[in-house]
Subunit: 185 residues, 2 copies
């Protein structure tokens, strides 16, 4: 059962990642879920930086995530900004304090050292395999899909990495195009 072994190792490494994070977060008086939220906000685009977007990505109910965001706001890691056109919506922005925390904890202490013996070729192969597993699994799960903007069906290239979203009509910078979008199709 080689499939099972691969699963076991990914799961165990994942567990160690969470353990390292949990211990590191104690100093900041934060819970694991808070880091998950911050990591998502750092990676998502401006259509997806709302409580609902966080809830869908983390597959947690919005009522629950509302509480976690409240904590993050109180502690100065997140700022809320009302949407200009839709008064129901709230956009969430990371503070510098949050960015510093992410820089420190991604990847967690020691992980990079563990990769030191890998060649560039091995890394590329490993990365490709992991990407495949995740992509195939996402398809099998048939869940709400999140994807990187510039690989979306709505994305219209405008050259030099910039583009336009066919769904909203808005222009997208090169940076925008690299981020995760909840409207991804």
């Amino acid at each position: 059962m080689p499939d099972n072994l691969i699963f076991e190792f990914i799961e165990r490494i994942g567990y160690v990642i969470r353990t390292e994070w949990r211990k590191a977060l104690l100093e900041y008086d934060l819970q694991p879920v808070h880091l998950d939220v911050l990591r998502y906000l750092a990676a998502c685009n401006r259509y997806s930086d709302t409580p609902q977007g966080v809830a869908e990505y983390l597959e947690i109910t919005k009522g629950t995530i509302s509480q976690s965001i409240k904590q993050l706001e109180t502690k100065g890691f997140v700022e809320k900004q009302a949407d200009a056109s839709d008064r129901r919506m709230v956009h969430l922005h990371l503070t510098e304090k949050a960015q510093a925390l992410l820089d420190k904890l991604t990847p967690p202490p020691g992980f990079d050292d563990a990769m030191r013996n890998f060649s560039g070729q091995e890394e590329a192969a490993l990365l490709g395999n992991l990407r495949d597993i995740l992509a195939q699994w996402q398809i099998a799960r048939k869940r709400q899909r999140f994807g990187v903007c510039h690989t979306c069906r709505h994305y219209q290239s405008g050259g030099a990495g910039t583009g336009q979203c066919g769904l909203t009509g808005e222009g997208l910078s090169a940076e925008d195009s690299q981020k995760i979008c909840r409207e991804f199709t």
Copy 2:
């Protein structure tokens, strides 16, 4: 930053694993930590199937794990057995109900499908890489080491997969030798 990308993918797959488990466990009225405990007990040997062993492996305080084990016992997934020689110690055994749950959830639904396109060669390479990362990281972390019995310094081979533990002097079956031990050195 290819290291970072590899980390990101392992972390994300790990997150999806936990999400699938969390949803599946709702039906059984169990929390994620309960499955972690059951998985450890299924993999550890008779020197390590105690509350303390669980706590060390999961890197959670023993007071916390004591509560989780209480739940598992009440719900019929675990049975406690007093140690014959040390009256402080308690050994934890999985019930058939627990074994059935593990069989169903490991790996979680859909994961095997995601591996379908891999060749035997690719799988072997991937497995080797993951094994390396975990091993190197464990060394870098310098934490309490857990390891498979037959790779331990105390293990003395007796042929045909069986052996003897140089620490306790006890005989070890072929099955024992494949399990995780907290006395691993």
